[in-house]
């Protein structure tokens, strides 16, 4: 049996977020009309860090939003139990904005699809850019992030765990050999 592998430690996460922010800054050019939206739950924490780094390093004070994609899931009819729905907080109009959409892990692409549909229901953004800290492959829909922190090939049996100090004990990205491997 293989063991759990640390893909990113706290410093690695910090550096990766810094690189993502640099790439985003050169990608979007100027802060006008840029908004950052995090997908619940870990995408929100990452979006907050990206937002904070933009403020500190670039003096860009970007509007920050939270998106819960549960209502848009395509598997609700198959589930026996309805997942809890948490709040979506977009206190700004997305129409004509450049939306930076942030999630921690992209895999099948289905969550991103939910998020794209949800944002469209709020208005008509100028563009949406997708950012993921980890791309673990296994895509089921033709959706690619514009900016990726790290890319790692995984199998369905493996589990990618993103720990962020805001909600977990420490920062770290782990690859576990089985879906039910004990969390770090």
């Amino acid at each position: 049996m293989s063991e759990s592998r640390l893909l990113l430690d706290a410093e690695g996460i910090e550096k990766t977020i810094r690189r993502i922010v640099e790439e985003l800054a050169s990608f979007v050019g100027k802060p006008d009309g840029v908004v950052v939206i995090g997908i619940r739950s870990h995408g929100v924490t990452l979006a907050e860090r990206i937002h904070k780094m933009f403020a500190l390093e670039y003096e860009w004070d970007l509007p920050l939003g939270i998106l819960d994609t549960t209502m848009y899931r395509d598997d609700l009819a198959q589930l026996e139990r309805q997942p809890p729905i948490r709040s979506t907080q977009l206190d700004f109009d997305v129409t004509d904005r450049l939306v930076v959409l942030v999630d921690d892990v992209i895999s099948t692409g289905r969550t991103a699809r939910c998020a794209l549909d949800a944002i469209m229901d709020f208005g008509r953004p100028r563009a949406i850019r997708l950012v993921a800290l980890v791309d673990r492959g296994l895509r089921e829909l033709p959706i690619q992030p514009n900016i990726t922190g790290i890319a790692v090939d995984t199998t369905h049996e493996q589990r990618v765990q993103v720990c962020l100090r805001e909600s977990d004990s420490e920062d770290g990205v782990w690859l576990h050999p089985t879906p039910d491997s004990p969390s770090r």
Partner: protein, 326 residues
């Protein structure tokens, strides 16, 4: 952590429940889960597209054996905002008038593939009867004088939104208690949630059994409302006045109408609620109905959100493998 565990348990219980029949049988945690979910759905109302694909492909049948425009419309809007298909099956135009039994009507609707039956019926307990013989999820939209659970939930939601708590909150339910399913559902919900409920009205409209429900009974309006945080008014059902349960509308108005003078006896931040339709000038004066304490229209808005939450939470349940027969 503890909160999360409790919520999960409540969610599991609700899913196992399959139907929403009454609040008497529900736990505090289940009620809070519905209110919490409703909050997320209410946010949709502010979007440019007020519709989500959550219940796409599901069919909701409104089966109303009593007239109701507001409750039926509220369920219809709730279902449509969740992308479900809605069919209204109302009694006056249906074969019920041709002598079909409730069971046959329900089976017919089931055979058409309904996932939800939203039912209003003049007989207390009718939704229970239906739920035991039907695969669809049954939602009670008012049965006789028994329960009106979604009204109880939307009232609780409205109170929570304004007062931020239930514990120790003083709520007065005023009016025709004995004929009111709204009163019963409110009492179940609010007492479970920790509020102190007082029922008030003429003696002929308050059944003696209500003292067993854990509520305080008062026949003196002034005493009842003096420290109330919320006054929930019930409609005086003018059609019942023929049965002489109180001497006259005029006397009721003199003794129990909430008007500006009476409002001044209550707390300055008292909330005035009413399930509608209101009889202006009977149980509530024009000024109070339209005044700053009134949240009557907010209740209507919240009703849609609460019904969306109920439809969503019940949608995860599997129908009975085989409808049970007695």
């Amino acid at each position: 952590m503890r909160v999360a565990t409790e919520t999960k348990t409540a969610a599991e219980r609700l899913v196992q429940r399959k139907h929403l029949l009454g609040l008497e049988e529900m736990t505090k945690e289940e009620i809070l889960l519905i209110l919490d979910t409703a909050k997320s759905f209410k946010e949709i109302f502010t979007r440019s597209v007020k519709k989500v694909p959550t219940l796409r492909g599901k069919t909701v049948v409104n089966l109303f054996f009593e007239n109701s425009t507001r409750t039926r419309t509220s369920f219809e809007i709730a279902a449509k905002r969740l992308s479900a298909d809605v069919v209204n099956f109302s009694v006056s135009t249906s074969s019920v008038t041709k002598g079909e039994t409730l069971l046959d009507t329900a089976r017919t609707i089931e055979a058409m593939g309904a996932d939800f039956i939203v039912m209003r019926h003049g007989t207390s307990g009718a939704p229970w009867f239906l739920s035991r013989r039907n695969r669809a999820a049954v939602i009670n939209a008012g049965d006789g004088t028994h329960e009106h659970p979604t009204q109880g939930l939307l009232d609780a939601y409205t109170i929570l939104e304004h007062k931020k708590r239930f514990e120790g909150l003083k709520v007065v339910i005023l009016g025709d208690i004995s004929h009111s399913r709204v009163a019963r559902s409110n009492i179940w919900a609010l007492t479970k949630l920790g509020a102190q409920v007082t029922i008030c009205g003429p003696r002929t409209l308050i059944p003696s059994s209500f003292a067993d429900y854990g509520v305080r009974v008062s026949y003196d309006l002034k005493e009842a409302i003096s420290d109330a945080d919320v006054i929930n008014l019930l409609r005086i059902q003018l059609e019942r006045q023929q049965r002489n349960l109180f001497p006259s509308i005029r006397e009721y108005r003199l003794l129990y109408q909430i008007n500006e003078q009476r409002l001044a006896m209550a707390k300055p931040d008292v909330l005035i609620m009413h399930p509608g339709p209101i009889n202006r000038g009977v149980e509530i004066s024009q000024e109070v109905a339209d005044g700053p304490h009134s949240v009557i229209l907010e209740q209507v808005t919240n009703g849609v959100a609460v019904r969306m939450a109920v439809l969503y939470l019940l949608a995860g349940s599997r129908g009975l493998d085989e409808a049970e027969e007695d």
